[in-house]
């Protein structure tokens, strides 16, 4: 199975990542690409700052990816997660799953996002348009409920 996991400050190119995953792989029938973007929160937000735990972020995402690969027959998997300052409209996270059939690709991508949200060691802080540094984003109960679905 073809795993790509990267933690980086730089923007990524989801099209190039998806193309790299499927190139010359004619057994793949379904590809799901999830992109998480920085919202402007009604114009209030100047940027999100993402702090992460280097070393553990890679290790934990690797474990989450292994879980997905053991639950669904994946033919390819790419996860890219950014850290640092991210402006509204920019990408934060990319998950691409490839499989023979669509159900596995959809479920694995949804599973991976639920786990990334609640288990990967990243923390978001808001920087506001008025120049102040806002609060750390609270973990959402909805995200905890979402991850419970898979247990």
């Amino acid at each position: 199975m073809d795993f790509t996991i990267r933690i980086q400050a730089e923007p990524f190119d989801s099209a190039a990542e998806t193309a790299a995953l499927t190139r010359g792989r004619a057994e793949i029938g379904a590809v799901v690409a999830f992109t998480g973007l920085c919202r402007d929160e009604g114009g209030r937000l100047a940027a999100l700052e993402l702090e992460h735990y280097p070393g553990m972020a890679e290790a934990e995402i690797g474990r989450i990816a292994d879980q997905a690969a053991s639950r669904w027959p994946l033919l390819g998997l790419t996860i890219v997660h950014r850290f640092g300052r991210i402006a509204p409209g920019e990408e934060i996270v990319l998950v691409v799953t490839a499989s023979v059939h669509r159900q596995a690709a959809f479920e694995a991508a949804s599973f991976l996002m639920d786990y990334l949200k609640t288990q990967a060691p990243f923390w978001k802080r808001e920087h506001l348009k008025d120049g102040t540094v806002g609060t750390w984003v609270d973990a959402k109960e909805a995200d905890d409920r979402a991850v419970e679905r898979w247990r």
Binding site: G36, L50, E51, H52, Y53, G55, M56, A59, E60, H81, I92, V93, M113, L116, K117, T118, Q119, A120, P121, F122, W123, K124, R125, W136, V137, D138, A139, K140
Partner: protein, 83 residues
Amino acid sequence: MKLVYFAWVRERVGRTDEQVVLPDGIATVADLVRWLKGRGEEYAYAFENEGVVRAAIDHVHVKPEARIEGAREIAFFPPMTGG
């Protein structure tokens, strides 16, 4: 043993990391938190709500009852908000 802190736990403690030498009798993560809270107001503030701050030993999530013997690096941080 190295301790590392992230996000608002880091801000409250006032440092990103530190080396500590633990007294006898600190067997679990919960023991370690209790010991840290006794070290000063900044630690008491960081860990004020029991059960909110998460821990990892050597890059693996652990529960408060996890044993810390042999750990190289223990991390404390708020609930994750990535993705």
